[in-house]
């Protein structure tokens, strides 16, 4: 098997606070291969963004990587400092944020923002960069790109701005793109277009994608595999189809039952009782145990086995004999 583009090994992020050390990411392990889209789902506060920020080296202090390793194209990057890490951002790792209305500098023409990004990373001339800026806008489907390079962000609609953001994230041809809820802030009508665009561009270029979202519809639509996070830990990891139709982890099961997904044809939505624990009150053993219908003594004593490869982090995973 080819070497993965991104490989996260047992990654933990810690935030020291006055009330003790919080662990928004706790021992997470996964790989993303070239051309693969890995969906990351989980409730708000599960640590999805923290993990993404750790990879691109943009954790805001005092949050920091406290354990584990991050490998990009066979090179370890979690211990890179300052300028060495900066060189990777934009060049090897592109990022797309949630809100396209605030992601672009309002005072600079979008063409200038593209050109500055390319000139920072690529050994090309200014005129070459300007040419590529137009091409980049064409590629993300901005009509009249040759003219629109001279426009300012406020002259575009939300959906168009997210296309510009994607063009910016991809303009130096990174091997990994982290998209943190790229459609959450958009009109429902343009969400599917943006996801389709992201998917097409990354497939064409063989870019690995970390697609963070809490929209299972987006995952079903675009992702190859999905990682489910709960309270900073990985609950389950597997091919999208398996996880959606035959979840093994009780949390994933509850999550699927509470998601209106056409493909599953459920009419009544199920709610998981309780709420995800706060970071300063994660229970011993399996973090899900206070809410879990299958909980047993063992779950309160020892942490569930961690996910490595395709599995659920659970002592008593759901069996799906009928599926196999």
């Amino acid at each position: 098997m080819a070497e993965p583009v991104l490989s996260i090994r047992n990654l933990s992020v810690e935030i020291p606070t006055r009330h003790g050390i919080l662990k928004p990411v706790d021992g997470v392990t996964y790989d993303i291969a070239a051309g693969e889209i890995l969906g990351i789902v989980g409730e708000s506060g599960a640590g999805k963004s923290m993990a993404g920020n750790a990879v691109i080296g943009l954790l805001s202090p005092p949050a920091h990587v406290s354990a584990g390793e991050i490998w990009l194209n066979g090179e370890r990057i979690d211990n890179l400092k300052g300028d060495a890490m900066r060189r990777l951002r934009g060049k090897e790792i592109g990022m797309v944020f949630q809100d396209p209305l605030t992601s672009l500098n309002p005072l600079l023409r979008i063409g200038d923002q593209l050109v500055e990004t390319m000139l920072t990373h690529l050994p090309i001339s200014k005129s070459e960069a300007e040419k590529r800026a137009v091409a980049a806008l064409e590629e993300v489907g901005i009509p009249g790109a040759a003219k629109r390079v001279n426009s300012y962000p406020h002259e575009f609609s939300g959906g168009m701005r997210q296309r510009v953001v994607i063009a910016l994230a991809l303009c130096a041809e990174p091997s990994l793109v982290i998209a943190d809820e790229p459609t959450t802030a958009l009109d429902v009508s343009v969400q599917a277009q943006i996801i389709a665009l992201l998917k097409r561009l990354c497939r064409e270029r063989g870019t690995a994608v970390m697609l963070i979202t809490h929209d299972m519809g987006v995952i079903a639509e675009a992702a190859d595999r999905v990682a489910v996070m709960y309270a900073g830990r990985l609950a389950e990891l597997g091919p999208v189809r398996d996880v959606i139709t035959a979840p093994e982890h009780p949390y994933t099961h509850g999550l699927m039952a509470s998601t209106p997904l056409a493909s599953r044809g459920k009419s009544r939505l199920h709610q998981i009782p309780g709420a995800m624990p706060r970071l300063d009150a994660v229970p011993d053993g399996c973090a899900f145990n206070p809410r879990c219908p299958r909980v047993a003594d063992r779950c309160r004593q020892a942490p569930a086995p961690t996910v490595d490869g395709n599995a659920a982090a659970c002592w008593f995973p759901l069996q799906h004999e009928e599926a196999s």
Binding site: R89, F97, N105
Partner: protein, 326 residues
């Protein structure tokens, strides 16, 4: 673009009309101009004649119009005290104030912005914290006290710099300048620091807080996520956005420098319009006071107009835009 500028000019004109009204009211109602102009020995005839001559028997609106008409032509009447046209006196004094204000303004803006950016970028550094603490003193000490302290230190104790006056000036015809002689330049140092310090600290603190706010914005995170160098993130992306709210305040503060020059000019016996105004108050020299008021407000309004137009160039969102997207 043109409509925007025309609107701003119209607003400025309105402000000037109102200030003109105040100046005129001073003329008309503070003390009796006839009293002021005729000495003790006067006849009822003299008074009547002068009243007609000055147009004081005309309706208020006509008088106000006359006043404006004269003011626009630079005619503010004759100083009660010096018996010379006010405009001549003002023109003699203006260069001193304008040179002082220009140097102070440039110092305040340059150092204010530079230190503001520095303290924002190095928020946690020792140097930034020291600067912030010292700046508190700059904001809280009154101007005259700063002036006196500087005089004490650099003139009295060290004897490096003169404590009063403009030094040697060169007469260029309509303008006298202190920029061309060593003693003129030396004389500028203490007064311009005194005058600009408050504005500098104010601008610095404002730039710092705005910059910190901007550095928290998503587009700065995105700029970092694109791997831009710190220099580009700070100066190309952050500073420009910081300047949008800051620039109005800078305009107001530069205007304030000209107004506050009164205190500094008094402390340093600087022969500018501020000192002239103080002396005019002592002698209730109304024409000089009114002219000073008009002059200062013209400068204020002018600076604000320039700021508004600058705005327009910095922030594309203000420009009339061809609507795009869909």
């Amino acid at each position: 673009m043109l409509a925007y500028i025309i609107r701003r000019v119209a607003q400025s004109a309105l402000v000037l009309l109102i200030v003109g009204l105040v100046a005129f009211a001073m003329f008309r109602f503070v003390g009796d101009p006839i009293d002021n102009m005729l000495g003790q020995e006067r006849t009822a005839d003299d008074i009547e004649r002068l009243r007609e001559q000055l147009g004081l028997d005309q309706p208020f609106v006509v008088q106000y119009y006359r006043f404006l008409e004269n003011a626009v032509q630079g005619n503010f009447g004759v100083s009660y005290r010096q018996g010379r046209p006010v405009i001549d006196i003002l023109m003699e004094r203006a260069p001193a104030t304008l040179e002082l204000a220009a140097v102070s303004g440039i110092l305040a803006v340059l150092f204010g912005i530079a230190l503001g950016v520095f303290t924002a970028i190095r928020r946690k550094g020792i140097a930034a914290n020291i600067i912030m603490s010292v700046s508190l003193i700059g904001v809280s000490l009154p101007t005259f006290l700063i002036g006196i302290l500087l005089i004490y230190l650099f003139s009295v104790e060290l004897g490096w710099l003169p404590s009063f006056g403009r030094g040697e000036v060169v007469d260029l015809g309509a303008w006298t300048t202190g920029f061309l002689t060593a003693s003129g330049l030396k004389a500028l140092i203490l007064p311009s620091i005194t005058l600009g310090l408050y504005q500098m600290t104010l601008i610095m603190r404002l730039v710092r807080s705005e910059m910190l706010e901007v550095l928290r914005q998503d587009y700065i995170r995105f700029a970092r996520a694109r791997g831009l160098r710190n220099r580009a993130v700070h100066f190309r992306h952050a500073l420009k956005n910081t300047m949008v709210p800051v620039i109005t305040v800078i305009g107001l503060q530069v205007g304030a420098i000209i107004a506050f020059a009164i205190i500094t000019e008094t402390v340093f016996q600087w022969p500018g319009v501020g000192l002239l105004f103080i002396n005019a108050i002592q002698f209730v020299d109304i024409p000089v006071m009114a002219a000073y008021l008009m002059l200062i407000s013209v400068m204020f309004v002018g600076i604000n107009l320039i700021v508004d137009i600058l705005y327009f160039f910095i922030d594309p969102r203000l420009r009339v835009d061809r609507k795009g997207g869909h």
